[in-house]
């Protein structure tokens, strides 16, 4: 039953771009706007999945997953900037516009290699993974758990935001990267590129879901739940909780990086605002709203909260933050198991 619903959802999503190709007067026609929006939500869903994997299953509430998402976005953004080549405003064959503007004469070393797509994608996964490894190792080793870890990760994304706002970091400062032209030979503002990115995101989401389902269903997943519910007990039973937590944290960060890498070409911009602590905590609420500890719940949460946000910010923009705040309150006080809990509770 569950499997059938999931499959139906995936098929519906997969059909959206095809409906987009119908003539505009057809009642089933789906606008470009919807395709772009749903494409974004698919990336958010991957981010939600990554948070759920760490929080829902291993009890690691990271308030800094937005940082991994943004780092993945920056990695692909660097690739997209390199591809602009001489088409920039200043027409420099190699340097992006902002570097010419800031008086760079040659490409900084950390930009080397980003002209290659496979390298950029690898970095979009490796950089968040490495950061998560270092932070996770330091934190888990000294047994920083619960709210302490949450605050620490929040400080991490805050520090990164401040750092990326600086012009001399070599990442475009305040303005970040934008004005992208093409990816893998496709011009980004064509509908075929939009479709390609949409399907890539959908595929990534399905693969990520399958991967996560596999992990949480395995013995590893059970140990993680044990760590979540009683870390000391799991440790006394002989499990190396540090290794388990570190593994899941790094994997989760890489998933978030992947989501960011898929997100940036679709929205066409990445700037330090993506690191803002508010973004990370909002993503946590998607998971809580959908139902943490259930993979489908995280995805459901990402879709439903963002659908509500898109609708409400166009109808009554002043109300959105009240509603979001109310979602925080409702989820913690009334719906501890989220939408999924509500649905399952009713079915029983």
């Amino acid at each position: 039953m569950r499997r059938a619903i999931l499959l139906a959802c995936i098929c519906t999503l997969a059909a959206l771009p095809l409906l987009n190709m119908l003539p505009t007067d057809n009642p089933l026609h789906v606008s470009d706007f919807i395709i772009t929006i749903v494409g974004k939500w698919l990336c958010y869903a991957i981010l939600a999945l990554s948070i759920d994997l760490a929080w829902g299953y291993a009890g690691i509430l990271s308030l800094g997953h937005g940082a991994f998402f943004a780092l993945g976005g920056y990695a692909i953004g660097m690739h997209l900037m390199r591809l602009i080549g001489p088409r920039g405003v200043y027409g420099h064959p190699i340097l992006p516009d902002f570097m010419v503007f800031l008086g760079y004469t040659e490409l900084p070393w950390f930009w080397w290699g980003f002209q290659s797509f496979p390298f950029a994608m690898a970095m979009a996964l490796a950089v968040p993974g490495l950061l998560a490894f270092v932070v996770g190792y330091l934190a888990f080793r000294s047994r920083i758990t619960g709210v302490y870890l949450s605050i620490l990760t929040q400080a991490l994304t805050y520090a990164l935001m401040l750092a990326f706002f600086r012009n001399d970091m070599g990442f475009g400062g305040n303005n970040g990267f934008t004005d992208f032209k093409e990816l893998l030979g496709f011009s980004l503002n064509t509908s075929s590129a939009r479709m390609g990115l949409f399907y890539a995101s959908l595929l990534a989401l399905v693969v990520a879901l399958a991967l996560c389902a596999n992990i949480v269903g395995s013995k590893l997943g059970r140990v993680l739940v044990a760590v979540r519910d009683g870390e000391s007990r799991a440790r006394f039973l002989g499990y190396d909780t540090l290794q388990h937590k570190l593994f899941i944290f790094v994997l989760s960060a890489m998933l978030a990086g992947l989501a960011g890498a898929l997100y940036v070409p679709q929205v066409g911009i990445i700037n330090p605002g993506e690191f803002s602590p508010g973004n990370s905590i909002e993503a946590v609420v998607w998971v809580a709203f959908g139902g943490r500890g259930t993979l489908v719940g995280a995805i459901l949460g990402a879709f439903s909260v963002n659908a509500l946000k898109t609708w409400l910010t166009s109808v009554a923009p002043d109300l959105w933050l009240f509603v979001l705040g109310a979602i925080f309150v409702a989820v913690t006080l009334l719906l501890p198991r989220g939408l999924i809990g509500l649905l399952e509770g009713r079915r029983k």
């Binding site: 934190a139 949450s150 605050i151 400080a155 991490l156 520090a159 750092a163 933050l321 979602i327």
Partner: protein
């Protein structure tokens, strides 16, 4: 040339153009403040002389101010006199009754330094009472003596400049060093002395800025330390409480604007902000947060959502733009400490205020009944409950105090930061860092943590820039937590787990 007295010069005014000009120049060099209104009147064609030889301005005796009985003939001036007057008036401004004019004149004399100004400056110094202007005059005198041809005067000039110890004095000494080879050794010594003074002053100012930032962090973190330390509640809406405190200050200011109490609006804001935010705190704790005890992560999300709603409400009510909160007169401007260290008054007040709040809170916890109950609940909630302490009530009161202190912090912040709906967001992460660094549950730790963070930030700033200093501090804390996961002042024994 024999030194003419002021009185002997008076009759020469109006004798002839040449005599008038000479008399004006002589008066300018003497630095007698009585000359200034005379020369100004002469320049404006208002100075007259009666038949019996008295000088008159606008029908009144120029020296005594009595009504002059007989008609006066206005003294005439030509361009030569005008030039002499301009020079003399410029130099005489140094003895003007207006302090700001004197300060500006002393500055001007320092810039245009000339040996001729020495007697003028000596006269002005003998009369000057304000320490700030005296310092400027001494600097100008030192500079003028250095230019003069009198070797003893030059030495005195070098000494005076070394004493003044400003960057201007240092530049002047460097300038003169090439042409006064016989003084080179003394000048080098003076420059070294000035460098030492400047370094000391810079260090003192950095220290002050660090203490100021530390006291702001202390105020912001104090309430957090109480709620976090006592109840284990992470209040992410704490920054919004601070913001509400700042807006309360604004509302009190507007309410008292046209009344006689306007000057008292800031002191009155302190209790007002405490009451407003404490009331909101109690409502939050009793209405929502208490349902989530023992689930800190959920509390964190809940309070974040509440903070979001508070922020948006304020944005809708007061608008997104900054609101202006005025500083009372006694908090404006800056204070010159001995050694030439300039400190801004409002930041100085905030340091004292923060310490006063800390002492008050510590005393309340140490000596009051509520404080005793609070400590009992921190040590062991269940046993405290069996002893008859109503832990729910203690929780509510604790949360009220924590929120109220956040409101008070908002009053202080309204003096140095923009009062806008996202005022609190900038402080919340730093405040958490202070609490974690200092050790949860220890107010002393909060003090040490806040000051350490403030000082480290300001010490690093000149080398790394403001943003990198902040990043470095955050990274430093992450590494520090490796060594001491429970913070600087960890609770020991059973209370720790």
């Amino acid at each position: 040339m024999a030194q003419p007295s002021f009185e002997t010069l008076l009759p020469r005014l109006g004798e002839s153009f040449g005599a008038t000009a000479e008399a004006a120049e002589a008066m300018g060099a003497m630095g007698d403040p009585r000359a200034l209104p005379l020369l100004r009147a002469l320049n404006d064609n208002r100075l007259g002389r009666t038949a019996d030889g008295r000088l008159v301005i606008d029908g009144r005796d120029a020296l005594t101010g009595e009504a002059a009985p007989s008609p006066a003939e206005l003294l005439r001036i030509n361009n030569r006199v005008r030039v002499a007057l301009r020079g003399a008036m410029g130099r005489l401004a140094i003895v003007s009754p207006d302090a700001a004019e004197r300060a500006a004149a002393a500055e001007a004399v320092f810039r245009t330094r000339s040996a001729e100004n020495v007697p003028l400056l000596e006269a002005a110094l003998a009369r000057e009472a304000l320490p700030d202007i005296r310092a400027r005059l001494e600097l100008a005198l030192g500079a003028s003596r250095l230019i003069s041809n009198d070797p003893a005067g030059q030495r005195a000039g070098v000494a005076a400049l070394a004493q003044a110890g400003t960057a201007d004095a240092r530049n002047l000494l460097l300038e003169v060093r090439a042409s006064r080879t016989e003084l080179a050794a003394e000048i080098d010594q003076a420059i070294a002395a000035i460098d030492g003074k400047l370094a000391f002053r810079r260090a003192a100012e950095t220290l002050f800025q660090g203490l100021s930032l530390g006291s702001v962090l202390l105020l912001a973190a104090l309430g957090l330390a109480i709620t976090f330390g006592v109840m284990g509640v992470i209040n992410m809406a704490h920054g919004e409480m601070v913001m509400l405190g700042a807006y309360t200050t604004f509302v009190v200011q507007e309410a008292l604007r046209s009344t006689g109490m306007a000057a008292w609006s800031l002191p009155l804001s302190v209790p007002a902000a405490f009451v407003v935010t404490a009331a909101i705190g109690v409502a939050l704790e009793r209405g929502l947060i208490r349902h989530l005890y023992g689930r800190p992560l959920e509390t964190l999300l809940l309070t974040f959502g509440i903070g979001m709603m508070i922020q948006q409400s304020v944005r809708l009510v007061f608008g997104a733009q900054n609101r202006e909160v005025l500083s009372p007169a006694w908090m404006q401007g800056s204070l010159l400490l001995p050694g030439g260290i300039a400190v801004t008054q409002n930041r100085l007040w905030i340091i004292f205020f923060a310490l006063a709040v800390l002492v008050a809170v510590m005393a309340a916890i140490r000596f009051t009944r509520f404080g005793l109950q609070m400590r009992a609940v921190v040590q062991n909630r269940r046993i405290a409950a069996t002893m008859g302490i109503r832990t729910g009530r203690v929780d509510a009161a604790t949360f009220a105090v924590g929120s109220g202190i956040a409101g008070i912090a908002g009053v202080a912040l309204s003096q140095i930061d923009n009062v806008s709906p996202n005022l609190g967001t900038g402080y919340i992460i730093d405040s958490f860092m202070v609490v974690v660094f200092g050790g949860v549950g220890s107010l002393l730790g909060t003090l040490v943590g806040a000051m350490t963070l403030g000082l480290t930030n300001k010490l690093l700033e000149p080398y790394a820039g403001a943003v990198l200093a902040k990043v470095a501090v955050l990274v430093g804390i992450m590494i520090f937590i490796q060594r001491r996961p429970k913070g600087l002042f960890a609770l020991k024994g059973r209370a720790a787990e």
